[in-house]
């Protein structure tokens, strides 16, 4: 079964991070922002052009592009 990513979350729906995959640089950046296993993440805004979306986690609001967000797998 394909793992669920944050891209599949509807606006306002909360997901729990299972792991971050992908290329070293982007992985590191996402980890540095505190996206580790067990982190709650919730998309709250979507850019007028549909991408990126802004996610709320650990008290901050961070815009992440779709292809980068693809690396954030959910439980």
């Amino acid at each position: 079964m394909k793992e669920k990513t944050v891209n599949e979350l509807e606006l306002g729906e909360i997901g729990v991070v299972s792991k971050i995959i992908g290329e070293e640089n982007i992985k590191r950046r996402l980890l540095d922002l505190g996206l580790i296993e067990g982190t709650d993440i919730k998309p709250v805004l979507v850019s007028p052009s549909g991408d990126p979306r802004a996610f709320e986690f650990r008290g901050s609001l961070i815009a992440i592009r779709e292809e980068d967000a693809e690396n954030i797998k959910l439980k």
Binding site: L31, G34, L45, S49, A54, G59, S60, L61, A63, I64
Partner: protein
């Protein structure tokens, strides 16, 4: 020696001797620079968006007779990875040997900020945690137990509101205590990793400690990096401390053993890295939970409501355009009056100068050259540049302070992604509308060097304040002039808007072309924090934007305007066989100009107008009126008459507008591009890109026009 003199001597003495060095670290956008400014009194611009400080800024202050040097290092979320800022930050904390490292944290998102704090506890003991933005936290009903935080971390914790200078007194006291304590007090907080990992780290550390005399803490940190396989960081450590960590037989041997051992326990090297990071984040989370109390869980609701409107599909972009239009309108209308005032002021002085020159029997050619050439051009540039900048930048800085700019990047990112660029480029373009030179400097906010360079090279494709009035004048005369009435101003506004939109589209097209050719690459990851909205500090905004941007840019412009004034005067006054140099050059350029639907004088004016776009029209008028100095004309109607008499048609007007938007950057911008890219090659490319665009576009319209007219 009197008592007074003695004290003075002593003060001088202390000033000369031992100065303490303090590093100022923290996440982006937590008010680091504000603290820096308030401590040092220096004006470093702080922006409510990430990544303003790119290089280390150094300042000095005195406290109780001691001299302190404070180094503001770039804001980062972490010091573990490879980005330029993180490297600078990490190197300074590790190898800069500061007497104390202050980590500034944002009280409203303490948990995330603690991540960096914990990373730094692994490197140094001389840590001070400075919890900033307590006022914002209070508004959001977040309570932070500073004492508990201090007990857990075993380092001094100071709460401040950096905007309020008084609250920094406590920080100063703590800085002094930390710097002056001689021996190390109790060990500070230490992150405890998984048992197996701890054992592995310890084994490597023992070897490092055995081989080199390095403080235990640092050796432990190095062994984590050795196991991590972070070559980049290891290389840096080797270089800075003259030790060998890689290709070191003993270390390699232990490393191999330890890693094998871990593998058996099902921890591979990649997972090792992740375990390290997540342990730190989890620790930060735990501490955050202990010391923070959220009395209002929905503290971000108001921000989200605003965000929903400002980034909505329907209104997001229209609101953005409206904001920008409003700023331009206020700038252009508002700048008229001070400009007039400066003109008449400098004009009066000019008359006095001429009188004075006559009085001292200064030769006519010399006084003309200095007064009508240098002085007039110089004061002209000041009169037309200063007021719009002094209005535009504070307005723009207010948007910046509010936290609106990252939202612009968020709204526009989709378009820029298609051009393989970053949405942050839109912010730099918005700054470019005010002044391209500022826009180019602003490109520092873009992390990826490739994308930053593209943003720099294309910045000039949006017209700056200096070009707006010219565009409006031409549009009013030739496009709206045929209609008259209220319709006229609407039509001319639309015409100007059309060229601007063309400029924005061209930026995207050129960016895409650059991404596919000389600056090949995929769009880098776009991770952008949308910070909470903050109330701007109006007075500070005014002072900061005037000093940091306006005066700075004006300085550069003036430096170019003075010699340019001389050249223009010489061109208009020196001639061969009764023809001025100006005419000779214009005649030479005429064939090219005709292909572009312009005339030689117009092209000459653009070339001579390189110190500032504002003087292009005055030079054109000077040429047509056979004058020998710049011509200032207020009456749009009269300008129109002169232009028409010299053969301007609607085609000329359209091409002049196009060429105004698409031509080489002004000298100030070119200098800035040289400074930012450090390369003449890129400066030259930034010169040719818009120029070629302009020439091609003008030729196209001329061709189309002639085909349809015949």
């Amino acid at each position: 020696m009197s008592e007074k003199e003695k004290i003075a001597m002593e003060q001088k003495e202390t000033k000369r001797k031992s100065t303490y060095t303090i590093a100022l670290a923290g996440n982006p956008n937590v008010g680091k620079s504000t603290i820096f400014n308030n401590l040092t009194g220096m004006n470093q611009h702080t922006g409510n968006w990430t990544g303003k400080t790119v290089a280390n800024a150094t300042g000095y202050f005195e406290y109780r007779g001691e001299q302190y040097k404070i180094v503001d290092i770039p804001g980062t979320y972490s010091i573990m990875s490879h980005s330029e800022e993180e490297e600078i930050a990490r190197n300074y904390i590790c190898f800069g040997n500061p007497d104390a490292t202050i980590v500034v944290v944002d009280a409203t998102s303490l948990e995330r900020n603690l991540n960096l704090v914990l990373q730094i506890t692994e490197i140094t003991n001389n840590l001070i945690v400075c919890v900033n933005l307590l006022d914002e936290a209070k508004k959001k009903k977040i309570k932070i137990n500073l004492e508990l935080l201090s007990n857990i971390l075993k380092v001094p914790v100071v709460g401040v509101t950096a905007r309020n200078k008084k609250t920094l007194n406590n920080l100063l006291k703590v800085i002094r205590n930390v710097c002056e304590r001689k021996e190390q007090i109790n060990p500070i907080y230490q992150i405890h990793y998984d048992e197996k990992i701890e054992k592995a780290i310890e084994e490597v550390r023992e070897i490092i400690s055995k081989q080199y005399k390095i403080e235990e803490k640092l050796a432990r940190w190095m062994s984590i990096k050795v196991l991590d396989g972070e070559e980049h960081i290891l290389k840096e450590i080797e270089k800075q401390l003259h030790i060998q960590l890689m290709n070191n037989r003993e270390i390699d041997k232990v490393k191999k053993e330890v890693l094998e051992n871990l593998k058996e326990k099902e921890i591979r090297q990649e997972e090792f890295k992740e375990k390290i990071v997540s342990t730190i984040v989890k620790d930060a989370e735990e501490i955050g939970k202990k010391v923070c109390k959220f009395e209002n869980k929905d503290y971000a609701n108001r921000d989200r409501k605003i965000d929903k409107i400002l980034t909505s599909k329907k209104y997001g972009i229209p609101i953005m355009i409206l904001f920008l239009l409003l700023i331009f309108w206020i700038t252009i209308v508002g700048a008229n009056y001070p400009s007039q005032f400066l003109f008449s002021l400098f004009g009066n002085i000019q008359e006095k100068l001429i009188e004075f020159a006559t009085y001292i029997h200064c030769p006519g050619w010399l006084s003309n050259m200095l007064i009508l050439g240098v002085y007039q051009t110089l004061t002209w540039v000041i009169s037309v540049m200063l007021p719009p900048m002094a209005i535009f930048f504070p307005l723009f800085t207010i948007l910046e302070d509010l936290g609106y700019l990252p939202r612009i990047a968020f709204n526009m990112d989709g378009f820029f992604k298609k051009a393989c660029c970053s949405g942050k480029q839109m912010i730099t373009m918005c700054m470019g509308f005010g002044c391209n030179s500022c826009g180019v400097t602003g490109c520092r906010i873009i992390d990826s060097p490739r994308e930053r360079l593209i943003a720099i090279l294309t910045n000039n494709l949006v017209p700056c304040n200096g070009r707006f009035p010219f565009l409006i004048t031409i549009a009013t005369i030739f496009i709206a002039g045929t209609i008259g009435g209220i319709g006229a101003s609407i039509v001319s506004t639309i015409a100007v808007m059309f060229v601007i939109i063309l400029g924005i589209m061209m930026t995207l097209v050129i960016s895409k072309i650059l991404s596919k050719t000389i600056l090949k690459g995929m769009p880098s990851s776009f991770v952008l924090e949308l910070p909470p909205y903050r109330k701007p500090q109006f007075l500070k905004v005014l002072v900061r934007s005037i000093f940091d941007r306006t005066i700075f840019i004006l300085g550069r412009a003036v430096a170019v305007a003075a010699p340019a004034g001389l050249v223009i005067w010489l061109f208009a006054n020196i001639g061969i066989q009764g023809q001025s140099l100006l005419t000779i050059i214009a005649n030479f350029l005429d064939p090219l100009a005709n292909l572009m639907g312009l005339d030689g004088y117009i092209l000459t004016a653009f070339i001579l107008g390189i110190p500032a776009n504002e003087i292009v029209l005055p030079i054109i008028l000077m040429c047509y009126m056979q004058g020998t100095s710049l011509v200032n004309m207020e009456d749009t109607f009269a300008i129109g008459e002169i232009l028409r008499q010299n053969g301007w048609t609607i085609l000329t007007a359209i091409n002049v507008m196009l060429f105004t938007v698409f031509h080489f950057p002004c000298a100030t911008t070119l200098l800035t591009i040289k400074k930012e890219t450090g390369s003449w090659k890129w400066t030259a490319i930034s010169f040719f890109i818009p120029t070629v665009c302009g020439i091609v576009l003008c030729m196209l319209t001329t061709l189309v026009y002639h085909v349809f007219m015949i």
